[in-house]
């Protein structure tokens, strides 16, 4: 059992028993935390692992949300049936939209991914094909129904989000222990060396975008059921910036770091509601300070994720 699995397991245990101690308000905070952790991890695959400066992640998150919302309200699909398309469509869109720009370096990629996000928003606001509900979004989304039984209570929502996080952590673990995850790191650390070792940069960056978009889409689908409503501004660039920041403040590619980042950015504000107005001011200051004091994030990643039989000699 490696460190990633250990931290994930510990975290899953804590989150698994959380509902037994929480009232409905705290349960809602818990759901938010679970859903946004999944999005943060998916952003981390692209930004923290593959090293692609991606600042448009809210688009993929929103695409999943809207897929579920549209299929449910316009075409009468049950929520469960929308889960597969809510993953597949963001993956497809991510591949199509990033393929022409994936070769762009650093800041150029960053700006064009902001562009993807903004174009997505305009599509929603302009009600393209008349199915997105324009700026108001879509209301009255069903709850999940299993065998005719409506899972309306929040506790079901919580455990569905919990299972999604479990799946996400499992995927991250698999990825970290595969040539795919390693290839992303190699590209991130030195792309010239990586390609000289036979790594197809384009393929693995797109691979990262595909997994990231798929997971974000799944989280979006959860998000929309939780609030039974969805509208464009939940997926604006500010949201993408938040996801981007979570990863870097917490620590790129660091599991506990990303969880910590999510907690600081999404859960603390829920708890300290009195600071509502000054909240972003405090955030901004915290972002600057964190970067100055810990440029690699609060809990930076430690490499050396190798099988035990290779570890010998000094540290």
């Amino acid at each position: 059992m490696n460190k990633t699995s250990m931290i994930s397991l510990g975290f899953l245990v804590v989150m698994g028993v959380f509902p037994f101690f929480a009232d409905s308000a705290w349960l809602a905070v818990g759901i938010t935390f679970l859903v946004f952790s999944v999005v943060a991890f998916s952003q981390d695959i692209i930004l923290g692992r593959a090293g692609a400066f991606h600042m448009g992640h809210a688009a993929f998150f929103g695409l999943g949300a809207y897929t579920t919302a549209i299929l449910n309200t316009q075409y009468g699909w049950p929520i469960l049936a929308t889960w597969a398309p809510a993953v597949i469509i963001p993956v497809a869109v991510a591949l199509i939209t990033t393929a022409p720009i994936i070769h762009l370096r650093g800041d150029y990629l960053l700006v064009t991914t902001i562009g993807i996000n903004i174009i997505f928003l305009q599509v929603l606001e302009n009600n393209l094909f008349g199915i997105t509900g324009g700026p108001n979004g879509i209301f009255g989304i069903d709850v999940v129904t299993v065998f005719g039984f409506e899972l309306f209570d929040q506790i079901y929502m919580y455990y569905m989000a919990f299972i999604l996080l479990g799946i996400t952590l499992f995927i991250m673990r698999t990825l970290d222990g595969s040539k795919f995850g390693r290839a992303m790191f190699y590209i991130n650390k030195d792309d010239v060396a990586a390609q000289s070792m036979g790594i197809d940069i384009r393929y693995y960056k797109l691979y990262a975008f595909a997994i990231g978009a798929g997971l974000a889409g799944a989280a979006g689908s959860m998000f929309v059921v939780q609030y039974s409503a969805v509208s464009p501004e939940a997926f604006d660039v500010m949201q993408s910036i938040m996801f981007f920041t979570i990863v870097l403040v917490g620590g790129s590619a660091s599991l506990p770091g990303v969880l910590l980042g999510t907690f600081v950015m999404f859960v603390l504000p829920e708890i300290f509601r009195e600071f509502e107005t000054a909240r972003y001011l405090v955030f901004g200051l915290a972002m600057i300070l964190t970067m100055i004091l810990r440029p690699r994030g609060i809990w930076p990643v430690k490499f050396g994720n190798i099988p035990a039989f290779l570890k010998k000699g000094k540290k």
Partner: protein, 300 residues
């Protein structure tokens, strides 16, 4: 035809504002390779600060050339100081850190400025007095141009030409260009890099302040979060022109302003941003470093 020319005038006006803001981005990027995400918010701050300076100095609501010049000078000075502080506190400690750390710090600084504006001036829209500039309107054939528009066009052209001359014809300008090309080498040649970066921030913030005031005077309604929109457009303009390149930023700003006006006028204003980013992507596919940007080969 008149309608087309009118759209060109509209586009050039907003384009010059973009260009002024874009210069701030491009100068900082050229020297520090950092997207100064807080720059747009500085522009917003300047509009608010300018309004407060105006109302506190000229409480009677009178207007004169003296009043306008005073407001511009004062505001530009204040914003330049804020810009320098920004660099000192949020960017300088990160000059050797990973690049993304500085990006996050810049995003954080933007949030701080934006929300400081909200806390100081409140979340509601603030409104510039309408009499700051004369409300004269000039007719050229079928084209209409207001005094404010004319001032924006003239003033920003003068500033841009002055900046161009400063960068290319003075010793200080040469030093700036040297630092942009190679900081270490410039240091070895005895150039004080910190001082150059400070000057960059003074000029960039000052130009942003002028743009912010013009936005306030021209559109009158200012909101604490408006900086983001101008910032993003200006930044895209800088990239289209070739980031790090001063004529590129001017050119990019004007191109983007015109492009926006024509798209809004002839296709749909609802899709303006979509077209903006499509333009950006197309430019980057064919010219990966922007229209006037130089090709950079990486040493392997």
């Amino acid at each position: 035809m008149d309608i087309f020319l009118q759209q060109i005038v509209n586009g050039l006006t907003i384009g010059s504002l973009y260009a002024l803001v874009a210069l701030g981005y491009t100068m900082v990027y050229g020297v520090m390779k950092l997207i100064n995400f807080a720059h747009g918010d500085l522009v917003a701050l300047s509009a608010f600060a300018g309004l407060t300076i105006y109302t506190s100095i000229f409480a009677d609501g009178g207007t004169s050339i003296v009043a306008v010049i005073t407001v511009f000078m004062f505001t530009a000075a204040v914003i330049a100081v804020v810009g320098v502080l920004l660099e000192r506190l949020a960017y300088r400690p990160l000059r050797t850190a990973p690049r993304l750390s500085a990006v996050v710090s810049a995003l954080g600084a933007g949030l701080v400025i934006q929300n400081a504006i909200m806390l100081i001036w409140g979340p509601n829209m603030k409104i510039f007095p309408s009499h700051l500039f004369p409300s004269d309107i000039y007719h050229f054939g079928g084209i209409v141009i207001t005094f404010t528009q004319l001032m924006i066009l003239i003033f920003s052209s003068v500033l841009m030409i002055a900046l161009y001359l400063f960068i290319n014809k003075t010793k200080m300008g040469t030093a700036i260009r040297a630092v942009a090309i190679d900081q270490d080498a410039a240091k070895l040649m005895g150039i004080n890099v910190n001082k150059i970066i400070m000057i960059i921030f003074i000029i960039g913030s000052g130009l942003g302040a002028v743009a912010g005031l013009f936005i306030g005077i021209y559109y009158r309604g200012i909101t604490f979060d408006m900086g983001w929109m101008y910032g993003l457009n200006a930044f895209v303009a800088a990239i289209i022109g070739g980031i790090g390149n001063i004529p590129g930023a001017m050119f990019g700003g004007l191109i983007l302003g015109l492009f926006n006006a024509l798209i809004s006028g002839y296709i749909s204003s609802a899709w303006a941003e979509t077209f903006t980013f499509m333009l950006l992507i197309v430019v980057l596919i064919f010219r990966p470093t922007g229209i006037l940007g130089e090709k950079v080969a990486e040493k392997v």
